[in-house]
């Protein structure tokens, strides 16, 4: 009776198994790379209902972030400004501009402007702007050079690993709290040295346990 399995069958089986592992592994690695928030989320630049330019307002005109994002030091949310805040200036400045029609409509009708969220965290993440800003983490650390963006885009992955990198080594990202909105500010010398000093003085301990962010 001839052998049901050839002599090479074992070898072939092993090679086939190895091939499957290699193909799946490579595929998995490629998928993991492509699906990582760094690839998937960074660069997200949605079209906004009003062509508002941060570059013009925060960059060229030099308006402070806090002029519009008023609650950043008091609440979890930095607050997208109320239409009222736009109209503080735009009742006189460019009061006829067709680009601002949506703003004027909102002010007249009381209906909100439907801004599109750029920096989106999952619902189970409880990020607190107040805690970060008052500890001296600048806007630029997470949002990038918004003062140079005509349209706001996401520049950081905002993934949990990225959060934890900073929570485990905060020193390079901590500056005096009064300078958090100065996006172009650089300390003299190594930022990590100044950061370490501030962390020591103020007793900053960034938590890395689950419920710090997940509740």
């Amino acid at each position: 009776m001839s052998a049901f399995f050839s002599k090479q069958f074992d070898t072939k089986l092993r090679l086939a198994a190895a091939a499957v592992v290699v193909v799946l592994g490579t595929g998995g690695a490629i998928a993991a790379y492509l699906l990582h928030p760094r690839q998937l989320d960074t660069g997200y630049t949605p079209v906004q209902p009003v062509p508002y330019s941060h570059k013009l307002h925060a960059g060229n005109l030099g308006m402070d972030c806090l002029y519009c994002h008023t609650t950043v030091a008091q609440s979890n949310y930095a607050a997208v400004p109320m239409t009222e805040i736009c109209m503080n200036c735009h009742v006189r400045v460019k009061e006829k501009s067709p680009k601002l029609q949506a703003v004027r409509d909102s002010y007249a009708t009381g209906k909100p402007i439907p801004w599109v969220k750029v920096h989106r965290l999952p619902d189970y993440v409880y990020f607190n702007h107040q805690a970060h800003v008052t500890a001296g983490v600048s806007c630029v650390s997470c949002h990038g050079r918004v003062d140079q963006m005509t349209e706001v885009r996401q520049v950081q992955p905002l993934s949990m690993a990225w959060c934890l990198d900073c929570h485990r080594n905060p020193a390079p990202h901590v500056r005096p709290p009064e300078l958090v909105t100065r996006l172009d500010w650089q300390p003299e010398g190594d930022p990590a040295v100044l950061g370490a000093k501030l962390i020591r003085e103020k007793g900053i301990h960034p938590p890395d346990n689950c419920s710090a962010c997940h509740r």
Binding site: V80, P81, P114, R120, Y124, K202, N209, S211, R215
Partner: protein, 986 residues
């Protein structure tokens, strides 16, 4: 294993505790609950779910899974167009307000997130709240977002409008003349503004009548005072000043008071380390209430025998005139109790207190007033003021209304709230009578009264409308709305203004102008202060100095008190689930087990084990209870400790016209309740042969009592005062656990959170359970799922009986995750979804959990809860408004449990940091359960601070950890229950 180790249970030492009669008898059904990880069927997917359904669902799931990840969801940010003063997105706002139930008002503080009220708290400034609430007040917020509320003005079921109703009234009012055909029926109200409107209406329509009716009322208390003092007066008790308390059929810790104050006062005298003498509570009652469970001595007696007891006590205390012999002589076992109580009361003259429940006839209340006076308690532990509302005999008034309706003397009947068709005494067919006239019904939901009305008007929720209330002592509060009426409802106040023909119709204007007229010049400042504080200063009534008239009382007693007939009697009680039916559509309350029976989603006819045996009745047998030609059907439930020959019935169930939650839940017993047996009366019981499935949670999550050697280590610990003193002399008992296999973690730095729960103070009132449900977005699962052991409460109240099944003692134990330092759940999680925080909290990361349920299996405290289904899937949009935005709403397949309200810790931490990085103060963080607790039995704080309240409690001699033998080192410890028995009765 169980076959190998057969212990002789009778040879064990230590006290035996049991949670149900099944456990006492050690039946196989009970063993299943203890031994299985889940009861049989708990992990099945669906009722009729088969493997095939599961595969179909999985296939669909995989198919769709690919699609969902394709596109990033676009989210909108919708900022306000114009700002609102004081509003910061993401920061809750708190407003003081007040609510009333049956004429009992309590001050509250409501938390609003982004304009929607989400959580109710007590108002610490209010004398009857003291910062705490009861379960009903916690659950009120859910009623606000009930999608089944009345939404639309209707005329006989046809869509109409407020304008059309007002036009009709303008026409109708012109025809009323002196108002001979006008009747207004409303619930009891303490509102001073409404009182002024009533006076205006009475002036405009002198022949009209305003009738106040509550199915649960305190008329007999006030009538008793009228008998004793010649005027109706509201008694006020100082439970904190009384060393000896006798409660005669009075559940003053439970449903007979409706405010936190008596509980706080009582509990303040149950802590032996406070240096004050421990009080002693005697209870005489038919039902086994939570007051009975707190009592040091309890006498089971039928409700109708309480009068005989009160009279015999008066005689024993030598109250002049008490020699009457009109009611039954007490039986022998009662005599011993009576003698001991009388002696104890006499030994504590001026520091004792006798109270009677609202079910007892006026004569008993008058006798109690005499007894308190004879004991020198008047002015010490009991005082009297005028009542916060105009007292009236509501039973007589509704009887008159029935006659007027039947005779056609009524042309217009306004029903300003409540549900009278459902709960008026069954002497008349109210639905038929209502059809004889034009009925204008203002109703919160489309209830029985709404269905019987001509004009159907949606009522605004108390959190949607302006108003004012008076607490029992007269302290007035403004009720300010938290949100605009969601469905365009109006308040009773606004309808009353319409009837009175007032120009101002808005609740705000009515309340404000009334108080402006009271305050004069400083009205503006006082109004602001009243809104901010939640109480109006200086509005409490002064105590009235009165003397009871003994001859008048005994003359009345002679006439009124007949010997109680032998045989079975039926007693009506408000229910822990629906109260009187007003919370019938509130799923949170239905799912919170009754404190004593642990019954959910039902009411039952409670019987003693002996009576049940005599009648041959088992749990779930449907009984037909009849009295005076009226009948009601209700399933039986045997309650150990219930009085023999008595059946306790809970009101407010079996609502025919109700929202989706409460429709058809339970059995209506109001059909048995007439003016003659309004609270209790003789009844006949017959088995119908039908059965009804009753679901109780009493055997769910039963902890396994460790037995080492031949000693039981109890889950609940109890001492008598004598034992406690002996133990306190030796200092705190230190355990020496076996060698630890796990490495130690350094918990000596920073905040280390811990909790102490005082079993001596805990009355088991459910407030913590509902507060936790509201705070932590805990889902409701329904009767069928509870039967499978899938209830989701993070904190539960375990009720343990000990002693004889006929007359046991009971202890309540709140049980939530105890946050073990050596947590058995953490070491078995394959994905590290549950991990320890450096501050000692055992955390759950829901987004990490894959649902293996190993943690639940390994938890000796049985406090982990698994989302077997997506409980939040089909809930209506409006119902989602009640969710706490600080807590994740969990998905199917995820484990959850108590985390010491970590969102509140983080909120206070960030507040402390923002305020110059100061340390968090002791008492600044209150967990939801702690905040709601009327007994102040739950204390949370930093155990690393030796001066914190929780550290001090944990150093007490009666502090112990549950299942200490397992060396899990729980952060929640318990303070043993201390009883103060009378040596003469032991």
């Amino acid at each position: 294993m169980n076959e190998l180790i057969q212990l002789n249970l009778s040879s064990l030492t230590g006290r035996k505790y049991w949670r149900s009669l099944n456990q006492l008898a050690d039946t196989p059904e009970f063993r299943q609950w203890v031994e299985r990880e889940f009861p049989e069927g708990a992990s099945e997917l669906l009722d009729s779910g088969s493997r095939r359904t599961l595969l179909k669902l999985m296939a669909a799931g995989f198919g769709l899974a690919g699609l969902t990840a394709c596109r990033r969801p676009v989210e909108k940010i919708l900022p306000l167009s114009k700002g609102v003063e004081g509003y910061v997105h993401g920061r809750p706002l708190h407003y003081a307000t007040a609510v009333e139930t049956c004429g009992v008002a309590t001050g509250l503080i409501v938390e609003c997130n982004d304009g929607r009220p989400t959580k109710v708290e007590g108002n610490p400034r209010h004398p009857f709240s003291l910062g705490a609430t009861n379960a009903f007040q916690q659950a009120m917020i859910l009623d606000l977002y009930d999608p089944d509320r009345a939404r639309q003005v209707q005329k006989q079921g046809v869509k109409s409008s407020w304008a059309a109703f007002e036009a009709w009234w303008l026409e109708q009012s012109a025809k009323l003349g002196d108002g001979a055909g006008l009747r207004i029926l409303s619930p009891r109200s303490t509102s001073p503004t409404l009182e002024s409107l009533k006076a205006e209406i009475a002036k405009k329509y002198p022949q009209s009548a305003w009738i106040e009716y509550e199915p649960v009322n305190f008329d007999r208390v006030l009538e008793g005072a009228r008998l004793a003092f010649g005027q109706p007066l509201q008694p006020h008790y100082r439970f904190d000043k009384a060393d000896v308390i006798l409660a005669l059929d009075c559940d003053f810790l439970g449903l007979d008071t409706l405010s936190a104050q008596p509980v706080r006062q009582f509990a303040s005298r149950r802590r032996p380390e406070d240096g004050q003498e421990l009080n002693r509570l005697y209870a005489v009652e038919s039902n086994f209430t939570i007051t009975g469970a707190m009592a040091d001595h309890r006498l089971r007696a039928r409700a109708s025998d309480v009068a005989a007891f009160a009279l015999a006590l008066a005689r024993q205390l030598n109250v002049t005139g008490a020699e009457l012999n009109v009611v039954n002589q007490p039986a022998d076992r009662e005599r011993k109790f009576l003698a001991a109580v009388a002696k104890d009361l006499l030994a504590h003259r001026g520091r004792s207190l006798v109270v009677a429940g609202p079910r007892q006839p006026a004569e008993v209340h008058a006798l109690v007033a005499l007894i308190n006076q004879a004991l020198g308690n008047a002015g010490q532990t009991v005082s009297y003021t005028r009542p916060p509302y105009q007292p009236s005999d509501s039973l007589a008034a509704v009887q008159k209304l029935a006659e007027d309706l039947a005779a056609g003397r009524v042309s217009t009947l306004f029903v300003l709230g409540g549900n009278p068709v459902f709960n008026l005494p069954a002497n008349a067919d109210w639905a038929a009578l209502f059809r004889k006239t034009t009925v204008v019904a203002l109703a919160a939901d489309e209830n029985e009264t709404w269905k019987a009305a001509t004009w159907q008007l949606p009522e605004a929720h108390p959190f949607e409308s302006w108003g004012d209330v008076r607490a029992l002592d007269g302290t007035a509060s403004i009720r300010q709305p938290q949100i605009q009426p969601l469905f365009g409802g109006r308040s009773a106040l606004e309808i009353a203004a319409l009837i009175a023909g007032r120009a101002e119709r808005r609740g705000h204007d009515l309340v404000r102008s009334f108080w402006a007229s009271q305050w004069g010049a400083e009205a503006e400042a006082k109004w602001k202060k009243a809104l901010y504080d939640g109480v109006i200063e200086g509005t409490a009534f002064p105590p009235v100095d009165v003397k009871a008239d003994a001859p008048r009382v005994f003359a009345a007693v002679q006439v009124a008190l007949k010997p109680a007939p032998a045989g079975v009697e039926a007693v009506f009680y408000p229910s822990w689930h629906t109260f009187d039916g007003r919370f019938a559509n509130n799923a949170w309350l239905h799912e919170t087990p009754d404190p004593m029976t642990k019954l959910v989603w039902d009411n039952a006819a409670l019987l003693s084990p002996a009576t049940a045996k005599r009648l041959g009745v088992k749990d779930g047998d449907v009984l037909e209870i009849s009295s005076g030609g009226r009948t009601a059907r209700c399933p039986a439930l045997v309650l150990p400790g219930h009085a023999d020959d008595s059946v306790s019935l809970q009101l407010g169930f079996g609502r025919a016209a109700c929202g989706r939650v409460g429709r058809g839940v339970g059995h209506r017993v109001e059909s048995l309740r007439a003016a003659s047996n309004f609270w209790f009366g003789p009844a006949e019981i017959r088995k119908t042969g039908a059965t009804c499935r009753l679901v109780t949670t009493q055997e769910h999550h039963t902890l396994i009592e460790p037995i080492t050697g031949l000693k039981r280590h109890n889950i609940v610990e109890e001492f008598t005062l004598g034992e406690y003193r002996e133990r306190a002399g030796h200092g705190k008992h230190e355990s020496h656990p076996p060698t630890d296999l796990f490495p130690e973690f350094d918990y000596s730095k920073g905040y280390q959170w811990g909790m102490a729960i005082d079993l001596s103070a805990c009355i088991g009132c459910n407030a913590c359970m509902v507060a936790c449900t509201a705070e932590n977005n805990i889902p409701v699962v329904g009767k069928d799922q509870v039967a499978r052991g899938r209830e989701m409460h993070w904190i539960r109240l375990d009720r343990y009986f000990s002693g004889e099944e006929d007359d046991p003692q009971a202890v309540m134990q709140p049980m939530a995750c105890v946050q073990c330092e050596k947590a058995p759940c953490e070491s078995v999680c394959p994905v590290a979804a549950t991990a320890h925080s450096p501050e000692g909290i055992n955390e759950m990361a829901y987004n990490r959990c894959v649902g293996t349920r190993y943690c639940l299996n390994n938890c000796p405290y049985k406090v982990r809860r698994f989302n077997f289904l997506n409980w939040n899937k089909d809930i209506p949009e409006i119902r989602k408004m009640v969710f706490n935005p600080d807590v994740t709403v969990r998905m199917r397949g995820v484990m959850e449990k108590c985390n010491y309200c970590v969102q509140r810790i983080e909120e206070k931490r960030s507040q402390a940091k923002a305020e110059g990085r100061r340390p968090i103060r002791d008492g600044e963080i209150l967990t939801a359960c702690q905040q709601a607790c009327p007994a102040d039995a739950i204390v949370f704080g930093n155990i690393n601070d030796p001066e914190s309240r929780v550290s001090k409690l944990k150093r007490q001699a009666r502090d112990y950890s549950v299942l200490e033998e397992l060396n899990t080192k729980p952060r929640t410890s318990y303070l043993a229950r201390v009883r103060n028995p009378n040596p003469e009765l032991v």
